[in-house]
Symmetry: C2
Subunit: 147 residues, 2 copies
């Protein structure tokens, strides 16, 4: 009988959950499983469809719950940052953005041509990008944290 989830990943999951005091449930295992199965960056809804083939009664809310847990445990990443209203920027030079977790502010971070071209060279042959988005998330300066 072949395990759906390979031993290594099964352990990774178990440990990650235990270390955060979260329970290893059928649902969480299965969600993790389908994400590993096909590395195509599925949406929550895609995942729901796939998981339902194994757990037909799983709800979409649970998919979201499981995903939150897996992200929290750093077992999966979400490709788009926090869903939040789109922001607009008049800076027409190439630049990156810094989102401060503390204040919510968004700063421009200038990007010199040098670095920009290094970043562009990351792309393998056959890929042509017309847009690059680089953003940092963390803590900004003088956050006046009263700590």
């Amino acid at each position: 009988m072949k395990l759906a989830l390979p031993e290594t990943e099964r352990n990774r999951l178990k440990h990650a959950l235990k270390s955060r005091n979260r329970r290893p449930t059928r649902q969480r295992t299965c969600v993790y499983e389908v994400i590993l199965e096909k590395r195509d960056h599925p949406t929550a809804d895609d995942i729901h469809l796939r998981v339902r083939e194994k757990l037909p009664s799983i709800s979409l809310a649970t998919i979201y719950n499981c995903l939150d847990t897996l992200v929290e445990c750093e077992l999966v990443k979400q490709v788009h940052l926090d869903r939040a209203p789109t922001r607009f920027c008049p800076n027409r030079n190439p630049h990156a953005h810094f989102h401060c977790r503390v204040t919510g502010q968004v700063y421009d971070v200038s990007l010199d041509d040098e670095r920009l071209s290094i970043i562009e060279k990351t792309l393998p042959d056959g890929f042509t990008a017309d847009t690059i988005e680089l953003s940092f998330i963390g803590q900004g300066p003088k956050s006046d944290t009263i700590s």
Copy 2:
């Protein structure tokens, strides 16, 4: 009498619009104006509030319409890419993403430590990032475009 929108930008707007056969309306001018006024990456709603002080009857739909036009004319950028469902990814190594406009596929693009550290050095003093998101948007390989 001081013009609300500086001459240079006023011209940029006029030319950009004309070159795409779009009309220079009060609403578009005003939206562009408030975005330039305060470079804080406002949301559509923020912009609506600010523009309403000058055009009290402007609708939110128009704000979105104007923003679409300004983005199309490359006068402003939107900081979050197209609003679309969040995607999830099990790749735990540092990597970038490539979104293909043609097929909608999302690919992982590996990021060596070298490049990663170059990117990190972009941040000015005082900023600490715990997350970096780098994504490319464009056309992927062998897109089988029947052209």
